[in-house]
Amino acid sequence: MFIDTEKWQEIFRTLGQHKLRTALTAFGVFWGIFMLTVLLGAGKGLENGVTNGFPRVSNFINIWSQGTTQVPYQGMPIGREILFDPGDAAAIVKNVNSVSLVKGQNSIGIWGGTPPYTVYKSKNGAFAVQGGFANIEGIQALRIIKGRSINAFDEQQRRKVVLIGQRVVEQLFSKDEDALGKDITINGISFTVIGVFESLQRGNEQQQEERIYLPNDTLRYAFNQIGWVDNLIVVPKPGVHARVAEEEAKKYLAEIHKVSPDDKGVLDSFNLQDEYDKVQGLFLGITVFSWVVAIGTIFAGAVGVGNIMLIVVKERTREIGLRKALGATPASIIAMIMQESLLITAVAGYAGLVVGALTIEAVAKMLEASGGNSGFFSNPEVDFQTALMALAVLIAAGVLASLLPAAKAAAVNPIVALQDE
């Protein structure tokens, strides 16, 4: 059917004979697909913009104890202060199935105390100090820009090494001085700088870049926090939703610390995945909305095509009647009408797709040129899959648009059509 060049020549000729009509019809479809592409591209830009504001690895849970017990339990009195033991982390990994990794976190000047004085040569500053661990980058949303991160040996051997934010570097070191390998003193204890990081926490960059990370056990032993762990970072097993791991880890912690299951106020926690899911839901909403609007537009275009094709069929009733009298089968009439409107929708829709994609690209270029992506909008793009989807919608619209007119054409009664007035 599609290699029947004669048929296509015939179609091109009929369309060519009615240029204005063809052009108007085509424009409706063009506009629909254009809108779809632009909307989806813009939606993607919005998504990219907001996603960039989130840490790359969001799949972790933070659990802390926030006070004293309020409910008596197993003979224990109320008013007990719950502190996590340094051994809790290992115990959770061992006993809670949904959890793959647990790390304790202590600090000076974040969850208690004041930021200690840090000194390098003649310069000094007060920076919060936080316990870290291997692979800290994903969870704390930071990027090593110099040197290396904390590794497992640092943790095991409680090495006196620190990872410092770039604002710490600015305050402690002169411009031409390399911080790597230098020893800085925190509260009188000396540590070696192994790496410098920049923050990826949108909106919290300054604060984080004024922070110093060191292996948590190093911190505990150096600064007299040997007996407890302030809070826990829990990473769920792959495929487990953070909320599940969160609940199970908390339940286990309550058990080993003899906290009543009803004592909800003691253990508190948050997981970013919940927030992340909310935002994902928002994007889904945006995408669905874009599709609804755009499909609406396409359908309006398709209805336009259908309408015009109906008029065309009406105008050509006599011709169709004659063709039938000369031996045209209903199928050949249907094919004739369908091919005409499919051709219009396909060509016009493809043009809409291309122009839409070009527009999106132009906007992306302009954004880049104008000093990058503003807060909530970056890298609008139309991916291949979206284009394919749009094409599918388009073809469906084309078929739908031509169904009714084609049926009308096939039902033309040649006797009536050929009647002399």
Binding site: E6, E319, R323, A325, G327, I415, L418
Partner: protein, 233 residues
């Protein structure tokens, strides 16, 4: 070639039903040149449409070239029309955006004949109707008589068994009518079966058999002739 027996046709519109053909028996042999006459509204066109497999009938039987024509699907009917029948209309019904040769070639398109072959055959038939010098003319560049010649060429191009013409000279002056009738007679001499519906006795008299429809029935030619004569006297 054509055998009708006891054909009845009703037109229904709402509650009312109009009995247009009231039992037509008709036998037309291969190679006949026949005319159908009758007053306006007597059912001539209705009959011709049934013969042309464009319309259905309510009762009776119809055999066309040995094929029974009853309860056909649309597609079958289309094939039958394409293979066995050629139509000539009062108002020519040429497609205005196709030139003479393309109009003639159109039925061949629905037979799946290739373009070259189509053009070749179309030119042959245009030559036969004396219009080989006009093959690239558009219909609006042709006179009424010329248009009808193109239409006749189109009716012939598939080598049909029967040619059906509904008042083919109704829109033409008497001289052109004569030319077209000459063409029909020539086509007939080549062995074609032709049925012409007409109001004009001049036209009917040039056919070999006249069939008169009156009140939905075929009346014998003689009776009507007698009536005519009686009126004349």
């Amino acid at each position: 070639m054509i055998r009708l027996s006891d054909i009845h046709k009703y037109y229904r519109s709402g509650e009312q039903s109009l009995h247009v053909l009231k039992g037509i028996d008709l036998h037309i042999q291969e190679g006949e040149l026949v005319s159908i006459m009758g007053s306006s509204g007597s059912g001539k066109s209705t009959l011709l449409n049934i013969l042309g497999v464009l319309d259905s009938y309510d009762q009776g039987s119809y055999a066309l070239a040995g094929h029974s024509v009853t309860n056909l699907r649309e597609t079958q009917a289309a094939h039958l029309r394409n293979k066995f029948l050629g139509f000539v209309f009062q108002s020519f019904n040429l497609l205005p955006f196709k030139n003479a040769a393309e109009n003639v070639a159109l039925p061949l398109y629905y037979q799946g004949v290739g373009r070259k072959e189509r053009n070749y055959r179309a030119e042959q038939y245009l030559e036969m109707v004396g219009l080989s010098d006009r093959k690239h003319f558009m219909p609006n560049q042709l006179s009424g008589g010329q248009k009808q010649r193109v239409a006749i060429a189109r009716a012939l191009v598939c080598k049909p068994k029967v040619i059906l013409a509904d008042e083919p000279t109704g829109a033409l002056d008497s001289r052109t009518t004569q030319e077209i009738m000459s063409l029909f007679k020539e086509v007939h001499r080549l062995g074609n079966t032709i049925i012409i519906v007409t109001h004009e006795p001049d036209v009917a008299n040039q056919t070999h058999r006249q069939i008169y429809l009156k009140d939905g029935r075929v009346t014998t030619a003689d009776q009507v002739h007698l009536q005519h004569e009686a009126v004349a006297i």
